[in-house]
């Protein structure tokens, strides 16, 4: 089995338009959640989100590209440019044939759907633009990344709601590990902040109207966000041979299904995925110093997640740190695990633990060190990234210091 390392990282999210800006915001504990600026916001009961502000697609893409790139594809391509640029790789010949793209998304081109349903149903138009289908399809982002970078190996899109990115990165990891690919470009993207995308979530009555406060006794729900995170997963020997900078190692991955409820989380399902990732990485659980939590800020997720971590780690649960950066960037749904992986990389590479901001008072059911409000310096050997999706599908990655 091959070792797998990360040699490039890229992002655009509510905290910043690239990785350095995102790290700076996470260190400061800055909040990227604010009033939504979208059409018909007055008809929504939830009017906040982690929206990427000051973004103009025309700054990055030409008219023909915009006709084909939904907002989620645009975010993906920008993040991929940063990640692949950092890796220093160019894909030609053999390497191109053995390198691919696996990305996660939940809503795909939801803005494109929203706009065009408006056109035909609300405005009564009988015609839509010829490229609506290739623009809205969930695999559009993966396909455009493969085209822009000549990635000709295995490529596809994974949709498992809030765990999409972690499932995608888990696939990429195993494909490089088993030798199916030399390099995989992986991560995920979401752009769901449109009227229909928020209205649907409102219906569940799990959204907060003021802020995302994970693990806090006064938490009152989740807040949606948008953006992308993209990484270059590379065969260790290949990276070493070309002298690439290694950001960290991907050491293990596990997934599980609760097989119980379509929305309520399960402690056992989460615990099996967490324990599975540590086992897959063949590391003692005491080496885990930081967990980037799923930490949605809902009553149900946060207490279930804390109970699962306590079950898996026993006494060590009180010695590790677990924070939820959703407090800063919101819940990026299918893209969330990818942006949150950045917090794990920052912990391992820079020794800085991103905080859980907005934390007001302790909840006895979430009695772990959640790194409240202020970032912390710490030497971390192993970090985990949790994702637990609606549908009971769980995916956890284990990362190790390079």
């Amino acid at each position: 089995m091959n070792r797998v390392v990360i040699t490039g990282a890229g992002t655009i999210n509510p905290l910043g338009a690239d990785v350095p800006a995102t790290f700076a915001a996470m260190q400061e504990g800055r909040c990227g959640i604010g009033p939504l600026e979208i059409k018909d916001v007055a008809r929504l009961s939830i009017q906040i989100g982690g929206q990427i502000k000051g973004y103009d697609e025309a700054d990055h893409f030409n008219r023909q590209q915009i006709a084909l790139y939904d907002r989620f594809t645009q975010f993906t391509l920008l993040a991929a440019r940063e990640a692949i640029g950092q890796s220093g790789l160019t894909f030609t010949g053999e390497l191109a044939d053995h390198s691919g793209v696996v990305l996660g998304t939940s809503g795909g081109g939801l803005n494109t759907q929203d706009e065009n349903y408006r056109a035909v149903y609300e405005a009564g138009k009988n015609r839509v633009h010829p490229f609506i289908v290739p623009k809205l399809m969930n695999n559009a982002a993966a396909s455009h990344v493969s085209m822009e970078w000549n990635l000709r190996g295995p490529s596809f899109t994974v949709a498992t709601a809030c765990a999409s990115s972690n499932h995608a990165m888990g696939q990429a990891f195993n494909m490089v590990r088993c030798g199916m690919a030399k390099v995989m470009v992986t991560g995920g993207s979401e752009a769901m902040l449109c009227f229909g995308g928020i209205k649907a979530w409102e219906g569940l009555r799990v959204m907060s109207r003021d802020a995302c406060r994970p693990f806090c006794a006064t938490r009152n729900g989740m807040v949606q966000g948008e953006g992308a995170g993209v990484f270059v997963f590379e065969d260790y020997a290949h990276a070493k041979a070309r002298g690439a900078e290694i950001l960290c190692e991907v050491a293990g991955f596990a997934m599980s299904s609760d097989a119980s409820d379509i929305v309520m989380p399960s402690k056992q399902g989460a615990a099996r995925a967490i324990a599975g990732a540590i086992k897959d990485a063949q590391l003692p659980k005491e080496t885990v110093g930081y967990i980037n939590a799923h930490g949605t800020g809902t009553a149900a997720n946060d207490k279930t997640e804390c109970a699962a971590v306590a079950d898996v780690f026993g006494a060590h649960a009180d010695r590790l740190m677990m924070s939820s950066t959703k407090s800063m960037h919101g819940h990026l749904i299918g893209g969330t695990g990818a942006v949150e992986l950045l917090a794990c990389i920052m912990a391992l590479k820079d020794g800085i633990i991103a905080p859980t901001i907005g934390y007001q008072e302790p909840d006895p059911e979430c009695a772990l060190d959640v790194v409240p409000n202020v970032a912390r310096d710490a030497d971390v050997e192993v970090a985990l990234s949790n994702a637990f999706a609606f549908g009971g599908l769980n995916a956890v990655l284990a990362l190790r210091k390079a």
Partner: protein
């Protein structure tokens, strides 16, 4: 149909029971309505009476929409109809 009978009909449908099987002092748990069923019942109440029910599943006690019994739900709906008609 009175507000009370309409609310009971909505809740009975959600619980897959006959309206006659529902007592005013029943809790939602008594008649087998879980958190998802509650959210659906509240949606049906909002649509049926054209009102907004302030309810967050993360913190059911935060609003004064009291879901402790069928009687309290009927009273809360009557209050919201009076308020939101005004």
């Amino acid at each position: 149909m009175s507000i009370k009978d309409q609310v009971i009909a909505i809740i009975a449908e959600q619980a897959m029971l006959e309206p006659g099987d529902i007592a005013m002092d029943n809790t939602l748990e008594d008649i087998g309505i879980d958190s998802l069923g509650l959210v659906e019942a509240i949606f049906a109440i909002e649509e049926g009476f054209d009102i907004n029910v302030p309810f967050n599943a993360n913190d059911p006690t935060a609003s004064d929409f009291d879901i402790s019994t069928i009687a309290s739900i009927v009273a809360a709906v009557e209050k919201l109809i009076a308020e939101q008609a005004a």
